[in-house]
């Protein structure tokens, strides 16, 4: 029953996003808004890029393909600090509002939740743009294998890549926010570096049989991003919140 496969692929690509949304985001309306806004912004960025590159389709030469990847990743990474900067403005407004209402300002973990929401929006935008409509044929009876990948159906490759990028975008946004907040260069460079790395690793899929290497490699990137992000946040959570008053637990977000 190919309906099972279609649902399976969709869960593969978006299951973690769904889990994140339900467990972390859904409880707080402002986070939901952030996810939606972020998704919209990143979708618009992808649409602008695709509108530009549409004129050059079909991509015949490999140089053009590399150039496409470079321009797209660079464009998105240029938007990231702008995204963070806009968030900072909003944070200022929220904190001012909190002060007027005699409520506490945004704490570190709340800021990280907002970063998570922003990253999740980015990941969902990527999934929607690159994967979701591609999965529509997988609900039918037929499957499809690309010539260069006889081992895995196209839909499986697309779902797994989408899953990897979702994880990469979600958690590298947290790292990036930490980097921008603290001005740490290694953290600031991390997000673009992982984005570029994953994008170029995905080119390995173009080799004959390369998908058996390329897809796991991108998954490894994703795992790397989670681990690094976890390490950063774990350390900061240990440091930061000692300074903040433990009595004031009222959450302006709830």
């Amino acid at each position: 029953m190919a309906l099972a496969a279609g649902i399976g692929y969709t869960l593969l690509a978006l299951g973690p996003a769904f889990a994140l949304f339900v467990s972390v985001i859904a409880a707080k309306p402002l986070l939901v808004l952030f996810v939606l806004t972020s998704a919209l912004i990143w979708l618009v960025s992808l649409i602008i890029l695709s509108a530009f590159w549409r004129a050059f389709l079909p991509i015949g030469s490999s140089w053009l393909l590399v150039l496409l990847l470079v321009t797209c990743v660079s464009f998105q990474e240029l938007i990231r600090p702008v995204f963070w900067f806009s968030y900072k403005k909003l944070e200022g407004l929220l904190n001012a509002l909190a002060q007027r209402m005699s409520k506490p300002e945004l704490k570190y973990y709340e800021t990280m939740q907002i970063a998570l929401a922003g990253g999740l929006g980015h990941g969902i935008a990527h999934a929607v743009f690159f994967c979701l409509s591609l999965l529509t044929p997988s609900f039918g009876k037929a499957t499809f294998y690309v010539d260069s990948c006889k081992q895995m159906p196209l839909f499986l490759v697309a779902a797994m890549l989408s899953l990897s990028f979702l994880i990469i975008h979600t958690f590298s946004m947290i790292v990036a926010f930490n980097g921008y907040d603290d001005g740490k260069r290694s953290l600031v460079v991390f997000a673009p570096a992982m984005h570029f790395a994953a994008a170029f690793l995905s080119l390995v899929n173009l080799f004959q049989g390369g998908c058996m290497v390329g897809v796991p490699l991108v998954l490894v990137c994703a795992v790397g991003v989670i681990c690094y992000c976890g390490k950063i946040v774990w350390a900061k959570v240990g440091d930061q919140d000692t300074a903040i008053s433990m009595s004031n637990r009222a959450n302006i977000l709830s």
């Binding site: 190919a2 299951g15 919140d241």
Partner: protein
Amino acid sequence: MDHSGFVILACVLSWLTQSAIASFQSVPELEASMYKTVDGSACVRLLTLSGEIGCANPDRDKVLAPILRLRSASDTIDQISSVLLPFSELNAFLMRTLNEAAINAKVAGVLVESSSAVGASFPSSLSDDEKFPEAQFAPYQNTSHVWNPPGSGIINKRFNFPVYLLSDESTRIVQEAALGNQRRNFNYPMNVAEFDLVMQTTKVGTSTSEACLSASSCLPLGGYSVWSSLPPISSSSSKEIVLVITSMDSASIFRDTTLGADSPLSGLVALLASLDALANISSPENWNRQLVVAVFTGEAWGYLGSRQFLNQLSSGGSSVQGLDQSRIYQILEVGSVAQAMDNVFYAHFQNEGSAATVEILEALQVAATSLNSASAEVLVNNASDTNPGIPPSSLMPFVHANKSMSGVILTEFNSVYMNKYYHSSMDISGQINTSTIAVAASLVARTLYILASGQSNITSSVADLLTVNESLIEQLVSCLLTCNPGMSCDLVSGFITPSQTCPNHYVGVFTGDPSESPITENIDDTARFIWNFLANRTALTINGTDTGAIMDCSTGCSDSDQVCVGSTVEHKGVCVHSTTRYVPAYSTRLHYTASGWQTLPPSSTDVLGNVDPVYTESYWRVLGVRIFMKESSAFDTWILIMGMAITVVSFMTILSMKSAFKKRLKHA
């Protein structure tokens, strides 16, 4: 990263992206490429009074199975498959499924390679019909004579799976798919064929003609026969009638690839060409006898046309007004003539003692002698007296109606059919000889002239007029028996707007009410062409000029003696004085009422109706096959499990991380 790293990366990229990028413009385009629709001709479910015949999906669902290519009918089949067979092996394989239940269970559907595909082997003979076609209609007892040695009889057999004959292009596609399966050693993912040949009678559960007609899940086979008279019949005429008959339909198990080039269309072409020649003779109204031409349809499925014609005559139907059964003096039938060896034809006769029969045989001899020339001798031999009687022919119902009917059938064969592909999809134009048809046509023209005019020989001036030109024969063959130009040829499109370019001669189903005048949509292209051709050729001329007038006569001509010829989408028709009519062709066991078709009980007056199987064809919505690659259902289930597992694991991880961070926050 240092520069050498970049260079290496660049070289690698330029090498790998040579051909790897698939170019689909959109997801719908991708989806469309995943499914390949194949085209061809289907074997459909027909029904008789005693049960079903033909092929169909076994129930309401589509049938799906991996494609397995067999080279011969006796190859083994390990699991349930869509079998791909060469055309030459089809009949043997189908008989095998009937005899071996184990094989039948493993066949989900059959795809037949085109007989004209690259590398196809030509069977030396092949016939879907019986060894004695329509034996129950013979006017004699000895039905063990084998007229059709290659006859397999599969046309009357029932198969519980769909059978589909592929076109040339589709044969290649399916062969590639089968090869792909073989290379993967029949492991998933496999290329499968999905058959959508679901029949209405299967869905409704009606399995005999009587049941399905009452449930309106089928329609009876039938169409419209055409008769014409030269000269047009005047009401006061009491002349004896010379009736010349032939048929226009053939049969095979694949409804859309039934050309019947030699049997019977070569006879039809010969007859039309001979009428064309006879029309050159002036003043046919001075002839001793009235010449009437009748072209029947449905003859391959129980002599529907000829039987209904006789029925209409005896009940005084309006479609046969002006004809009187008692005035029919003698009948000449033009059978298959294109494969006559060395211009030797055979005359099969009925009631040899009667003067009328003898007259026909003598006229044939005179005509043949007159055609003899230095280059070619034309012979008409009497058929062997070891034959049990007349061969399967439209003459049979006439004999049943009147035991003393005098009739002769002109054919290419003596005791055994010359046509090695009788009633099969291989009876195509490649195997007929147009010059032989031209000789037969001249033979028929001169014979009819002698019979109708009362002249006893062919004078040289008449001989010139009654020599059929081969170019007309070639035109008729290319129009009626090929797809290029097919029915869009000039000869046909001058008379009608055809509904399709590729001609086909399966009788089809009878749509509409037989008691009403037929509407264009209910008459097939061939019948409409014949009607127009005959009306045009038999039209009355005064001093060689047409008495017609060009006008928009699509709704009819004002004068009741006139008919509208050549009214098409592109140009207006001409009203001409001609007696040319359509006669409905359907089983005499059926009666049309307001609530649909009813099956009449057997009656003593309709002997042939009692042995008529009463063929009907089931309604169907689509007749399609598509090919695509499919995973095993286990794989699909695993994907679902993997997706659910990832989601569940994510949930659990997130929840544990949340509690870990909360604890850390508390401690910090």
